[in-house]
Symmetry: C2
Subunit: 168 residues, 2 copies
């Protein structure tokens, strides 16, 4: 296989950006920017998210079996960059961003997220350097209804810069 | 859970468009436009694709355990619409589009696809109205190198029209 062709083709997959949050059994919180997300079923509503196996988020979700997917708003590039690095919690802020607890799932909901879904893991595919967590959406909330198409209201990976990719 | 909030939030996930092709053991081919695709690992290179359980593609891939993901080029909306309906094979055309066989995987490569990946299924998550096939990329080819960002070279779901969604 031509490695460049593989890289180029996989980089053609467009992505949105999300802050994935979770809370471990010991109460430690985690939050990380991710982009490998797709819906996986209408009924029941399932999503699949790819999480790096050696990340803090992975350890927490593998244990808690639940997470919240916070949509990053178009234009909120700073939020995406904030959660590329390990997030620290300080009072009602995580990674510098205000949060409140989820309604059903024990994880932070970012104040700035225009929408979020709360999810319970039903399957985990562990085959590579990322685990694909397949999870049922059990709660959802829209704080800022999109004015046009819903997928125009989210920050796209390509919005972060011409050379920014996570894939390939 | 508020059904509208769930629908709106899930529709915020942006997608590219692909023609998923496969060949059954009896030689029957299948080709269908899909959009639920994400990378799932760098090493080994894995992708995950959501395929409707009652579709012809699902029956074929469930049996053959391999498929090709043909990228639909930006502007090629007609190709996307062609493969929303069941595709018929006529000589060297499927759904009216010229094809050639894959290099490693027994499935059609669309002449018009700017790039494609050939994949072997390693896992199938069967939890809802779609199966999530997790597959290793075993071959890749780029016919038309992107002039700018790779994810600008693909037709996006939103390019098909203001009201066109597959998700929610």
């Amino acid at each position: 296989m031509d490695a460049d062709a593989k890289k180029t083709t996989l980089r053609m997959i467009p992505y949105g950006l999300y802050v994935l949050t979770a809370v471990g059994k010991d109460g430690r919180m985690t939050a990380a920017t991710i982009n490998w997300v797709t819906q996986a079923s209408f009924v029941p509503p399932l999503v699949a998210v790819g999480v790096k196996t050696d990340s803090h988020s992975h350890a927490v979700i593998d244990e808690s079996r639940e997470f919240i997917l916070n949509v990053i708003a178009k234009g909120d590039n700073a939020v995406a960059f904030s959660f590329f690095k390990p997030a620290t919690v300080d009072g009602d802020r995580i990674g510098g961003e205000l949060f409140a607890p989820g309604a059903v799932v024990k994880a932070p909901v970012l104040e700035k997220a225009p929408a979020h879904v709360e999810c319970r893991v039903v399957d985990a595919v562990k085959r590579g350097d990322h685990t694909l967590f397949v999870a049922e959406v059990v709660e959802a909330s829209v704080k800022t209804p999109p004015s046009g198409r819903a997928d125009e209201a989210i920050c796209w990976l390509k919005d972060l810069g011409d050379k920014v990719y996570y894939g390939g």
